[in-house]
């Protein structure tokens, strides 16, 4: 109840007026309290929130929601007709059925994820700006597709706003991120200090050079020498901006050597768990390994974990392609949700499943669907969101978001709010102005929150 009040209060008009002009109050205060020396230390959120961390399951390439978790009976009724904007309306070739108390529809591609239907909050009214992967992926991750100015990624903003719970681990980990579509921009910190950047790990849990080359006390001795030189440079008037970040990166690296290898060592997991996720070597087991690593990292206190399954860009080969991709994703995602729930982590972890945009209900070629930026869906689960709930909707064909419309900026504003951060107060001054993840837009959609 208290939380409800505080949230409502935060987003009331009066509260906004009150907080205007005091934009960085929270961060400035924590700065005074010594956070400047501990940039990654835990910081209080702007208001109380259930979610403490995020796991983002990024379906790179744009999963066809109309074939997986967005049931559109009107497609069947209108099959073969010309859809809005041209193209033949083409229903999914996969059978849908309802699951759980909430009766959410899932296609036969996702039988395991469907079992968690009552945990889900479907966000159905999403839309974005650019129907091309590079821009859309970058916008999904940074809020802006403007190439002229690279923005910090959402994980970096979160880390900047909340710090991290485990100082021995990177606060923001991205596993197997796309090497293209912006590449490092998608987990970069841009103009935020570099220690807010995501740490990239391969889908085999490999981070090069992680194994310490000398005994810890010897390496610490050497590190002290390095850091004394770095501190000297940091004090000089010519200090390049990243020196503080370099100092921090050494401390983090030193601690990571001790903790990360065991955390990413999946062989320590019981066989039953490995089987539940479907962990196996090779590319087929990639997403399962990522899911299990995500659980272990989140449990250890990593603030933001992103994992990635590519190969959803089905302009052609939609049918077989979806079968192959879903096979890789369905079991592992379901196992991750079950595991989080069983460990009580779903109480304070927000899980996001989705893509940079959606796909059209009209056919492209003989067996494909083209990009759709005017209306698409994501799945949210876990801390702070309503369960067994649908928020927003596209039109009956699934072309355009017509209800509960959420732009990427709105999605970001809402995600930050779910973690207790006010998107208008989470600012960073750069090049003469205050920047935010949501730039000059963004509206918090409280309707999907479990207050």
């Amino acid at each position: 109840m208290l939380q409800t009040l505080s949230l409502r209060r935060q987003f009331s008009r009066r509260a906004l007026l009150r907080s205007a002009g005091a934009g960085f109050g929270h961060l400035a205060l924590s700065g005074l309290l010594g956070a400047a020396n501990q940039p990654l230390g835990v910081k209080a959120p702007h208001f109380r929130a259930k979610a403490k961390r995020v796991i983002f399951l990024f379906m790179e390439g744009a999963i066809s929601t109309l074939d997986t978790f967005e049931y559109k009976p009107a497609l069947q009724a209108n099959a073969g007709k010309t859809g809005p904007g041209g193209g033949t309306i083409t229903p999914s070739r996969f059978a849908f059925q309802q699951y759980g108390q909430s009766g959410a529809w899932f296609s036969e591609l996702m039988p395991n994820i469907a079992k968690h239907a009552d945990e889900f909050c479907f966000v159905r009214g999403l839309h974005t700006d650019t129907p091309a992967h590079p821009q859309a992926v970058v916008q999904l991750h940074t809020g802006s597709a403007n190439a002229a100015l690279t923005r910090p990624s959402m994980g970096s903003w979160l880390l900047y706003g909340l710090g991290t719970e485990n100082q021995d681990l990177p606060g923001y980990v991205t596993i197997n991120p796309p090497p293209n579509f912006g590449g490092a921009v998608n987990y970069g910190s841009a103009f935020l200090p570099a220690h807010y950047q995501g740490t990239r790990i391969s889908d085999e849990g490999y981070l090069p050079n992680l194994e310490a080359s000398a005994a810890a006390d010897l390496q610490r001795r050497q590190l002290n020498l390095i850091q004394s030189m770095n501190a000297g440079l940091a004090k000089s008037a010519q200090a390049p901006d990243p020196v503080e970040g370099i100092i921090e990166s050494y401390e983090l690296a030193f601690r990571m050597q001790g903790k990360v290898p065991e955390l990413l060592d999946l062989s320590k997991e019981p066989q039953a768990v490995l089987d539940a996720y479907g962990v196996k070597p090779g590319p087929e087991g990639s997403f399962a390994r990522q899911c299990l690593m995500a659980r272990r990292l989140s449990e250890a206190g990593v603030r933001f974990v992103e994992i990635c399954q590519g190969g959803w860009d089905h302009h052609t080969n939609l049918h077989q392609g979806l079968i192959a991709r879903s096979r890789e994703v369905d079991q592992a995602t379901a196992a991750l949700l079950a595991d989080l729930k069983q460990r009580g982590l779903l109480e304070d972890t927000l899980v996001i499943f989705g893509s940079e945009f959606g796909r059209l209900p009209m056919a492209q070629g003989f067996d494909g669907r083209d990009h759709n930026i005017t209306g698409y869906s994501m799945i949210l689960a876990g801390a702070g969101v309503k369960k067994g709930f649908r928020y927003g909707a596209t039109d009956e064909l699934g072309v355009k978001a017509v209800e509960g419309r959420m732009h990427i900026n709105d999605l970001h504003a809402t995600l930050l709010a779910l973690l207790g951060l006010h998107h208008k107060q989470l600012t960073y001054r750069y090049s003469g102005r205050d920047f935010r993840l949501t730039d000059v837009a963004g509206e918090v959609h409280m309707g999907l929150m479990d207050l």
Binding site: A194, L218, Q219, S228, P240, D367
Partner: protein, 845 residues
């Protein structure tokens, strides 16, 4: 331009066979199941698409219009051998159906062309305004340097432009950099290497007013200049030694293009000529075979892009490669994202789809001779097409005719046997060894195929060039509706962009592809973008950021120049200097603004935190190559003689796995190399380990600007990597061997690594660090990843014997063990490593 749904069909005007009524139904009913986009184009033949049909599959065009007996289509449907007869999976065609097809072909095989009409749409309405107004499309001016109040400060015109803006904002530039900082800065910026202690001493000792200009001229004349600035161009040219995603096929001859670029930059080939060679090389006159080779190699610029060879349709494969070439050419030279107009009129810049396809016609009239062809789900040499590789003039066939004819016969037999059994029930039956019965037939065929190539193929023998040449067919191409290769819109006559005017550019020679005139259009003195884009790139490499920050995008969504007059002044001077890159670099580094200190002043930070007005010199982080090369140079192990070719030369054009034995061999070769980083093998997706940590270039798109992140993986690389420890141990050994006091050794270490002497406090700290570390030292247990390394790098392994059953295990490269001989060596090694790990080492101030 917007495409309406209307389809105009050109109907035959004579009373021949009705294609839609009689012929198409046969193709749909009897052939589509195996030869259409919806299924699989078996043998790469499509009969559902006009272009695919006439272009034909692996065996050539399906029909010869007017000649039924010469048409493969009839030969196959009438074949006497049921295993060869089409359709293979159903009953033979009826006599009536065959007669219809025969008549249709005899009458000329008329397949009506379907084109979609196009109507002007909203997007283009604003184009005239954009053409007239957008700064980058306007002619380059040659503004006079503005007057400044502080007339004593500027050393060159560049300084006047910069100071005028600073004065407008009431900002003062900081003081000049000290000479030690300057010699380190300019040596790094021009060569990618730090100065040696001797070079520093010689510069500091030279008190003449010309000392700095002399230093600059020495650096410009050094071959190291081309290695650094050639690398900048290789970033822009998205250089890579393999085809990249989907199926990664090595480009074994790509190194020739790399060497061409380095050589051209070192010889200061004028930039306009440099571009002409890379775009139109083979169409330019050449006096000697060597010059002909050089010009063909230059066109590697167009050929060496990432290609998705795992692609069913030739038409799409070609159009994808054309798009990649258009993107590379336009973003690298004029910094416009022209390839956005492939599917629709450009949303921001005045580039209609028609302009894109006007350029596309130039590239569809050009044969991409990278040596690869498309195939879905191929294996082995399936993606290799030696006919699509240019030939080096040094090639001499070696084998004697007798051997060749014997081998040719054996190969034909093996091929026939393999094709006879392939996919038959008998062939798929599992033999005693657990493998399909057909497998030995395939292996035998592939073995002979390789043997044949090793005797006859200029590619396999190493005399090939990845490049382009004019295609057999020179023609305009159709606009493709929504970018879909098969959906033909109207024909777009070949030509150039309409976004801006280039007065006096020669018209396209319609008898050729038009690449030569495209290159002339791009490099015309009156092209408003090419010179601006290039001087901006040069500026960025010397000042940290471009005058236009988006160096690869001068369009509407790009940045606007911070100093438009300066940009134009530099572009004009670039022309006046005959497009000389070296003269432009020289002009910039001799300015006073380049020589500023990097000191921060809080008043200036408050007004211009990003230093866009250049009130100080922006410190920059070393790039991946500089980090590695600097470590090797200071450890005394860098080999400056360029190594021959590339390790990739030894690979076949067969798919390789990122984690497979080929990659492993290449990585180990790179690990062992002591050459400059620009010469390391650069397969796409397989980055040499010593380059991984510091944001190596992505090799996928034109990249004018590297990332410079700060992440813990860099710290881990410097603390734990074999490479850094190996070099630290080498330098420590040298320091110990040279003798002298501990203090002298420390001074030497500082000078070699940081180019300066330690402060007294630093000296004290280091002097106490060494004995303390030595006293605490215990030899570490071997790293778990340490594997024995062969005395010499492993040769790249042969292709997998069985492409159906590729080993998928991770083949992790070996790590040599780094073990100091005793506690003292360990302590010195640790000190050296700490200097490499210092933040100071990785910045140029």
């Amino acid at each position: 331009m917007r495409f309406t749904g209307l389809i105009f069909v050109v109907l035959p005007l004579w009373g021949g066979v009705d294609f839609e009524g009689k012929v198409r139904p046969i193709l749909v009913g009897r052939c589509y199941a195996c030869h259409s986009a919806a299924t699989k184009p078996a043998g790469f033949l499509r009969v559902d698409d006009r272009a695919g049909f006439f272009r034909g599959g692996d065996s050539g065009p399906a029909v010869v219009p007017g000649k039924p007996e010469a048409s493969l289509l009839l030969q196959r449907i009438e074949h006497a051998d049921p295993r060869r007869r089409m359709p293979r999976e159903s009953a033979a065609l009826s006599a009536e159906e065959i007669a219809t097809l025969r008549r249709w072909i005899a009458e000329g095989a008329v397949w009506p062309v379907e084109t979609l009409t196009v109507a002007p749409a909203r997007n283009t309405a604003g184009y005239p305004q954009l053409r007239a107004k957008h700064w980058a499309f306007q002619p380059v001016q040659n503004p006079a340097p503005p007057a400044v109040t502080n007339r004593g400060w500027p050393a060159t015109a560049i300084d006047q432009f910069l100071l005028a803006k600073l004065e407008q904002k009431q900002l003062k530039p900081v003081g000049d950099a000290d000479r030690l900082t300057l010699v380190r800065r300019v040596t790094y910026d021009l060569t990618g290497l730090p100065p040696t202690p001797a070079e520093v001493d010689s510069f500091l000792a030279d008190k003449s007013p010309q000392a700095y200009a002399k230093l600059v001229d020495r650096l410009l004349a050094s071959p190291r200049f081309g290695e650094r600035w050639g690398r900048h161009w290789l970033d822009v040219a998205r250089y890579g030694e393999s085809s990249g995603p989907s199926r990664n096929i090595p480009y074994p001859h790509a190194w020739r293009y790399r060497d061409y670029v380095l050589d051209a930059v070192n010889r200061d080939v004028p930039y306009n000529q440099f571009l002409q060679e890379q775009i139109a090389g083979g169409l330019l006159p050449a006096a000697t075979p060597a010059e002909r080779d050089r010009l063909l190699i230059a066109t590697g610029f167009l050929a060496l892009g990432p290609k998705d060879v795992n692609q069913r349709f030739k038409e799409r494969f070609q159009m994808d490669n054309v798009a990649e070439q258009i993107d590379t050419v336009t973003r690298s030279t004029i910094a416009l994202t022209v390839s956005c107009a492939r599917c629709h009129d450009h949303k921001f810049d005045p580039i209609p789809t028609a302009d894109y396809y006007a350029l596309a016609g130039i590239f569809t009239s050009t044969e991409d001779a990278a040596g690869v062809r498309n195939k879905m789900g191929g294996a082995g040499l399936d993606y290799y097409d030696p006919a699509r590789l240019l030939r080096h003039s040094a090639y001499q066939p070696k084998a004697d005719p007798a051997t060749l004819s014997r081998l040719e016969a054996e190969l034909a037999t093996a091929k026939a046997k393999w094709e006879a059994i392939r996919g038959t029930p008998e062939g798929l039956k599992i033999a005693a060894n657990g493998r399909p019965t057909q497998q030995p037939f395939r292996l035998q065929y592939e073995k002979l195929q390789k043997e044949w190539l090793s005797l006859t193929d200029h590619g396999t023998l190493g005399y090939a060039i990845h490049g382009v040449r004019d295609a057999q067919q020179i023609a305009d191409t159709n606009i493709r509706v929504r970018g879909e290769a098969e959906l033909l819109g109207p024909v777009a006559p070949r030509g150039f962009l309409t976004a801006f005017a280039v007065p006096g550019a020669p018209p396209l020679n319609r008898a050729q592809s038009g690449r030569r005139e495209l290159a002339q259009w791009l490099t015309s003195d009156r092209n408003p973008l090419t010179t601006r884009v290039m001087v901006n790139r040069i500026w960025q490499h010397l000042y940290g950021e471009g005058l236009v920050k988006t160096v690869d995008n001068f369009g509407l969504t790009g940045d606007r120049p911070s100093h438009p007059e300066l940009l134009d002044y530099l572009a004009s001077q670039f022309l006046a200097d005959g497009w000389s890159i070296k003269k432009t670099v020289r002009r910039l580094v001799l300015s006073r603004s380049y020589r500023l200190a990097s000191t921060k002043v809080s008043e200036n930070v408050a007004v211009d935190p990003a230093n866009r007005l250049v009130w100080r010199h922006a410190p920059r982080r070393l790039d991946a190559e500089e980090v590695r090369d600097s470590i090797l140079l200071s450890s005394g192990r860098l080999q400056l003689n360029p190594p021959p070719a590339s390790a990739v030369r030894a690979l076949s054009m067969i798919e390789m796995r990122d984690n497979g034995p080929e990659s492993r061999a290449i990585i180990e070769q790179a690990d062992g190399s002591l050459a400059r980083s620009v010469y390391l093998p650069l397969l796409r997706g397989v980055t040499p380990r010593a380059l991984e940590a510091f944001d190596p270039v992505a090799q996928t798109l034109v990249t004018g600007q590297r990332d410079a992140t700060t992440v813990p993986t860099q710290a881990l690389f410097l603390m734990n990597s074999t490479f850094v420890r190996q070099q630290s141990l080498a330098l420590a050994g040298e320091l110990l061997a040279e003798g002298g006091s501990a203090a002298e050794r420390i001074r030497r270490a500082y000078r070699r690594i940081l180019n300066r002497l330690p402060t007294p406090q630093e000296l004290d700290r280091a002097a106490s660090f060494v004995p303390e570390y030595a006293a605490a030292y215990r030899p570490p247990p071997p790293l778990s990843l340490t594997l024995p390394v062969a005395a010499k790098p492993a040769a790249p392994p042969a292709a997998p014997a069985d492409p159906d059953n590729v080993d998928r295990t991770d083949s992790r490269p070996a790590e040599p063990e780094i073990r100091p001989a005793n506690a003292e060596a360990a302590a010195w090694m640790s000190l050296v490593q700490a200097l490499y790990a210092s933040a100071e080492f990785r910045f140029v101030l």
